[in-house]
């Protein structure tokens, strides 16, 4: 069989493949600078943070001999480790004290067992006083009885591996013990509640946005172009206005001495002494965030509704459907795609919000993001912040994937 050939005698298939390859390479070369930029400035930093959530090298780095020595120790014997382990501990601590690393380790272990921080701060002085030639075990036991406590040694052994799931367990209100993983007592559980609250409030905000956004999107899609373009400004102006401007507006409006309370007092709905607490609680977060995220619901809904021909509704009605049946059976099913797009987008944005809950949420209206920020800037428990961040990120990425499947990430429209 004769093969098709181009003018210069190369088989056509080969030539096409070559051209295609060239095209691909050119496209990739154009994309490469940005991709590398995003990888370095964005993806790698986040991956680096995720590693922090399991990183536990501080224990084995600060106490290298002790952790090796503890490998052969079995906590089930309920016996304290032998003299060799205490000697290893002495050598490790002596070096750590010289490099002033021992307090850092104390802070790290304090996340797992409170009391470790002070024990390690104290041990700096104890170690310098210890004499060579005498049993280190006895000297340690004499210095602080915590060194003779099995729990201390259990802790060392549990946290001697280079990687730990300890932060993740703590983020799920659980704890490692020698007998396996256990849930924390009821009174110490905070994170699961916080996750539940974040998800619940985000769902509520999404639902509120849908309820408020659906009629607006319908109106905008069905009015004549001129009027709808004009009304669209009312949606786009908040969308374009600085987030902090909108948050400060709500902060001013919702205060006890603010405009809304003033109007209610003036109308006689509430008495002067009975001014409502609208801010620094969950209600404040709910109101402000619904307002801020509403345009993100309206715009996708609008772009779907605009493509639905109005004749469908008329056809349904001419066949005898009532207004409600026509809407519910004919119009609504066609808007489901828009609802999905808007709802996922709103929910993704809501669940990771930080600024607005921080400013109007008080203590009860804050989200998991606020806790992450707290761990980074105040408690300095970075592993915990990373673990909470990883869980939040996983949640968001799953939703992002779903969004990509349903809507397609390249179909996102702005403005």
């Amino acid at each position: 069989m004769e093969q098709l050939q181009t003018l210069n005698g190369v088989p056509l298939k080969k030539q096409i493949a070559r051209a295609l390859f060239k095209q691909k390479v050119r496209a990739l070369l154009l994309i490469a600078p940005l991709l590398i930029f995003i990888l370095i400035t964005f993806v790698i930093p986040i991956a680096d943070m995720l590693m922090r959530s399991i990183d536990n090298s501080i224990v084995s780095q600060t106490l290298p001999q002790t952790t090796t020595s503890l490998e052969s120790w079995d906590p089930k014997t309920a016996q304290l480790p032998d003299e060799a382990t205490y000697t290893a501990l002495y050598n490790d601590l002596k070096q750590a004290v010289e490099q002033k690393n021992h307090t850092k380790l104390g802070t790290r272990l304090n996340y797992e067992n409170s009391g470790m921080s002070s024990l390690f701060r104290k041990v700096g002085k104890d170690v310098s006083k210890m004499k060579e030639g005498v049993s280190y075990k006895e000297q340690f036991l004499a210095a602080d009885k915590a060194w003779g406590d099995l729990n201390t040694w259990n802790l060392f052994k549990l946290y001697s591996p280079k990687y730990t799931d300890g932060y993740f367990l703590a983020a799920l209100d659980m704890k490692k013990t020698p007998d396996g993983i256990q849930r924390l007592p009821e009174s110490e559980r905070i994170y699961l509640n916080l996750f539940a609250r974040t998800i619940f409030m985000s769902l509520l905000i999404t639902a509120l946005c849908l309820v408020l956004g659906y009629p607006i999107a319908w109106l905008l899609a069905n009015l004549p172009m001129r009027t709808s373009n004009l009304l669209m400004i009312l949606v786009l102006l908040p969308f374009w206005t600085s987030l902090l401007v909108r948050t400060s507006a709500w902060k001013v409006l919702l205060q006890q001495q603010g405009v809304i309370n003033d109007i209610l007092v003036w109308l006689g709905v509430i008495s002067h002494s009975g001014r409502l607490e609208l801010i620094n609680n969950q209600l404040g977060t709910l109101i402000a965030m619904t307002h801020i995220l509403l345009p993100f619901m309206i715009l996708p809904l609008y772009s779907v509704m605009r493509t639905i021909p109005p004749s469908y509704l008329r056809a349904a009605k001419s066949l005898g459907a009532t207004d409600w049946t026509a809407f519910w059976r004919v119009y609504f099913p066609q808007t489901v795609a828009g609802i999905g797009a808007g709802a996922i987008l709103t929910f993704i944005l809501a669940i990771g919000y930080y600024i607005t809950p921080e400013l109007v949420g008080g203590t009860q209206g804050t989200f998991i993001s606020n806790r992450i920020a707290y761990h980074i800037s105040s408690s300095l428990n970075w592993g915990m912040a990373a673990a909470l961040g990883t869980i939040l990120l996983t949640l968001v990425l799953v939703l992002y994937w779903v969004y990509d499947k349903i809507v397609g990430i390249d179909k996102v429209k702005l403005g």
């Binding site: 095209q23 154009l30 964005f42 930093p45 607006i216 004549p224 009312l234 400060s248 507006a249 990509d404």
Partner: protein
């Protein structure tokens, strides 16, 4: 959309109540933004309308909060920092973003979906997570630049924030520019090439003028993202680099001062201007597309 003449009473009632409901929702959307404008001219330090203001007496109004904004060194520093950071971050985002968007809109791009998802991710990942990641990584990067490369510490701080903000602005550029490229007629570049124009010349003379509305609206988005961003800058930057939103955030969290309302009003005026620019661009782009064949 208009009410037919044969509508029943119930239908009429629903028609009008639906309009009222929509009116109320529009009011909810726009009122909080508009109400801060008169409040910012308050002659007192309260955050509500004083009796004098309600009676429209001139004594009730003053420009003192604006005066404070323009004379207070904290605010002036903040706006200067913002204006130093945002344009450079925008420039990086737009140049890299536009080139990549052109690459992405070619007909055969391997792993297109995955690349797109990666490039858009800064918009989707919660800011606090981006901020956390950047906080750790950029601190090390900054130390390296100062210690090993011997760079000026202030400059390094600035570079860190600009890079972070450029990364956050990129998804917007990608989205808007790829959207304009969807309607781009490829035969135009082929025509240019057939007349002997090189790829660079074709790009600047043929492609660029046609996609410029998308590029400009993308850069507006990137600019506003940087100009409005507070979480990342708080983590990556230091107090010396306090930007306008950061200053507002501090003001709102600690002692809320009425100057914030003056700043807010100025920012609202800015966003109105942006909105008008975007609308004009959209019209121009629609006109251009209407003219191009196919």
């Amino acid at each position: 959309m208009n009410l037919p003449i044969y509508a029943s009473t119930g239908q009429k009632a629903w028609y009008y109540s639906f309009r009222i409901i929509c009116g109320l929702i529009f009011f909810f959307l726009i009122a909080p933004i508009l109400i801060i404008i008169p409040l910012s001219f308050n002659a007192t330090d309260f955050f509500t309308f004083t009796p004098e203001m309600l009676k429209l007496q001139p004594e009730g109004y003053s420009l003192k909060h604006y005066q404070d904004f323009f004379t207070n060194s904290d605010w002036q520093n903040a706006i200067r920092n913002s204006l130093k950071i945002a344009p450079v971050a925008t420039l990086i985002a737009v140049v890299l973003g536009t080139i990549a968007a052109i690459g992405l809109s070619q007909s055969h791009v391997p792993f297109r979906r995955a690349i797109m998802a990666t490039l858009i991710s800064p918009m989707i990942v919660p800011l606090i997570i981006s901020a956390t990641g950047m906080y750790f990584f950029y601190a090390r990067l900054g130390n390296y630049m100062v210690d090993s490369l011997g760079m000026n510490a202030n400059l390094v701080e600035y570079i860190k924030i600009v890079l972070a903000h450029a990364a956050l602005g990129i998804p917007f550029v990608i989205i808007t520019v790829t959207a304009t490229l969807v309607g781009f007629d490829r035969s135009l570049t082929r025509a240019a090439a057939s007349m002997g124009s090189g790829p660079v010349r074709t790009f600047f003379k043929v492609q660029m003028p046609l996609i410029i509305p998308g590029v400009i609206s993308g850069s507006l988005f990137a600019f506003i993202t940087s100009f409005d961003e507070v979480v990342v800058v708080m983590f990556v930057g230091s107090a010396k680099n306090k930007t306008l939103p950061w200053q507002m955030f501090t003001g709102l969290r600690e002692q809320i001062s009425p100057t914030i309302l003056a700043v807010a009003t100025i920012l609202v005026v800015l966003s109105v201007m942006l909105l008008v620019t975007l609308e004009l661009l959209r019209r121009r782009s629609e006109r251009l597309r209407g003219m191009s064949p196919g």
